[in-house]
Symmetry: C2
């Protein structure tokens, strides 16, 4: 784990990836010819690789799947897991529309034709309001401009373009060594509400120059999604458009990873670093959030139990409100542990609360212990809170990330479409 260096560059950190982003008016209409689009938030992005890449994806398990999810899955099936470009917009999810698939295909066709690649090598994604017809004119307007603007430093423009109610851009990248070669892996993510991933979360794009076979790429992605994005919940609402793509150019020059060797472990750890940090950024920027909540469930019978228990706490609206109110109402933590669908002895459970201001025990063997309310108040005043659960029933550990439930979450979501 110590062999990683955090670097800049997001999705352009790895060799061979250009990106761009701009405002095209998906939600608010085409930019006026007389006005500069400079003050409008980017709403469309493109990624283009110098070479054909191996690509792995994990998608929403919601029955309502956005048209772009279906089209991307289909494209990768046709291309044999190869991809060279990504086209992605915010402001409209292109989901639950009668013409959704047609529009998503048109986005691939426009992009492929502009870049001179088969449309099956284009990954398409959309995020925003569900159930409103996607206007195609802004995309037609944008694609040639995006192609023109493509740059090896375009990561920030692209990361800005996928934001919806996000208040900060989410990018993270690391450098590592595989087969004696310097490799890079970086990603961007968006998401703030409708976040309770179950297979993947919202939109995430990760690029690497490390050479990895399609099978091993998928294996690494599925394994790491489970303990990072899938351990995130902002509101318990699982999006229809969750897509997490991992794209490998192979330009680092290492021997392709085709088995579970030492390089594969190194690669997986790099992927874990990036995905974990993007997950934390997503949790911290949850809609209306004032606090990042990290819940770790240790000494558990197995990984699934740890995840189930930690996510149950992170998801509980009552617990989330108590965190907003900085109230050490630990009974709500026990309540959420108790309704988690997992098998363990509740009478052995210990709970501590912690932050940079300190740590205190609140529960031992399933029952309350005396603690200083003053100390607890100091701990909960911080903006990053840890809930530490020990089941005392095994050796597994997992962490889940979330945020508090605030007036602003209600405000943002009581008035989203307008």
């Amino acid at each position: 784990m110590e062999k990683f260096e955090i670097i800049n560059g997001g999705i352009c950190a790895a060799k061979g990836f250009k990106a761009s982003g701009l405002y095209c008016g998906i939600k608010h209409g085409l930019p006026d010819s007389n006005e500069s689009a400079i003050n409008k938030k980017n709403d469309i992005a493109m990624i283009f690789a110098d070479v054909v890449c191996n690509a792995a994806g994990v998608y929403t398990s919601n029955k309502v799947k956005g048209a772009p999810v279906l089209v991307t899955q289909n494209n990768l099936a046709k291309s044999g897991g190869k991809a060279r470009a990504v086209i992605v917009n915010s402001g409209n999810a292109n989901t639950c529309n009668a013409d959704g698939e047609e529009k998503a295909l048109e986005m691939c066709r426009l992009t492929g034709s502009q870049l001179g690649i088969p449309m099956e090598q284009v990954i398409v994604a959309s995020t925003g309001v569900i159930g409103q017809t996607l206007p195609i004119e802004p995309v037609k307007y944008a694609v040639p401009l995006l192609a023109e603007k493509l740059s090896y430093e375009g990561n920030t423009e692209a990361a800005t373009a996928i934001m919806t109610t996000d208040t900060v851009r989410k990018e993270y990248a690391v450098k590592f060594t595989a087969d004696g070669k310097e490799c890079h892996l970086g990603g961007m993510a968006k998401g703030s509400g409708m976040i309770h991933p179950n297979m993947a979360t919202t939109l995430n794009f990760i690029t690497t120059d490390c050479a990895v076979s399609p099978e091993m790429l998928q294996k690494a992605l599925s394994e790491i999604v489970k303990i990072t994005y899938n351990c995130l919940s902002v509101d318990g609402d699982q999006s229809t458009n969750d897509t997490c793509m991992l794209i490998a150019s192979g330009l680092a020059g290492n021997t392709e990873i085709t088995s579970e060797n030492a390089d594969f472990e190194t690669f997986k750890n790099a992927l874990y670093q990036v995905m974990k940090n993007l997950t934390i950024m997503l949790a911290k920027d949850g809609e209306g959030a004032t606090k990042l909540i990290t819940c770790t469930c240790g000494t558990s019978p197995d990984l699934d139990t740890s995840i189930t228990v930690a996510k149950s706490v992170i998801r509980s609206p009552l617990f989330k409100c108590a965190m907003f109110g900085e109230d050490a109402n630990w009974g709500r933590i026990l309540c959420a542990i108790g309704y988690a669908e997992a098998d363990f002895d509740i009478n052995k459970v210990d709970v501590d609360i912690a932050s940079r201001a300190g740590r205190t025990a609140v529960c031992r063997n399933g029952a309350g212990v005396d603690f200083s309310e003053e100390k607890a108040a100091e701990i909960l005043k911080e903006d990053e809170i840890e809930i530490l659960i020990e089941l005392n029933s095994g050796t597994a550990t997992a962490t889940a990330w979330g945020c508090d439930l605030t007036y602003d979450y209600v405000k943002i979501n009581g008035d989203y479409r307008s």
Copy 2:
């Protein structure tokens, strides 16, 4: 269904049930001898039956079970399903306390001894903050006074005593005929937050004078709980103290119901009327709620699918916020239908929204349809909203009840313990 008459009297509507309630200071300390307790909200109640009754219960499935839940289950096992009294307090859940069981047993002992009945015939329940030691002095103070105050008109005093963050008292009763005899069935309920029952909800006590065998009583209760209380969600948090008790005195004089005959159907329908109406009262009084939301899922492959889909919508925080904002953001309804764990074709789904101001289609065959935003706004301005889902995949129907998610929910729960 048409053979019922709504009557007054709550838990005292049926023959042979007395009740009482008073303030004893569970949360705020014993009443001062110099002050009248008249302005303080009741926090303890007693029910006492003239004869030994058959009793059936459904309890929380949370692993963390309140001590009173365990003691009641144990008492009824010992007494062979017979009960004669109920002692119940609010202000403290007596849960996650090392001495919880001892205190719950003491409540039964005090009550049994005061009323001259075996302590195994006492049902005990508590509701309020989890994880704070229950003070027994207020109970000792209250029990003789409660016994003295017992009255055939004490239902309202008792229903008031079980309220926590509830803003209104919940009572409902009906009159019906079984075996040519006039029977009565009435109940009281409490609950406003931590409501997402799964086996039963929060505290509910229902009494009847209809003679029903213990087996048939349990059968009727389990069946009706499934389609009433278990279809209610205020916040997705399943309480540790959920208890629903049905107590039958047999004093109506009908031949005891011991099989699934016509009288059993009549009895079940009466129970359904009372439990459904208490469920609606609970949903309407959800913490911070401004709107009652009723979601019906019809033309479904089976009852379980209908329930799962309707509850998924009712539980979605994003949908609940949209209802608070009176925003016809139906994509969030489709999203919640899509992540419901059930098997059906999402492309056949139709959705309408309705209220006393009218009704409009928003989705047909899983895709949006044009609708008037003005009309939708008028519909959503009302305080009782209906979401009507047709899966077009079968003949089953179920309804779930909930409420909107508001600033006040956050306010109430950011500051509950104090």
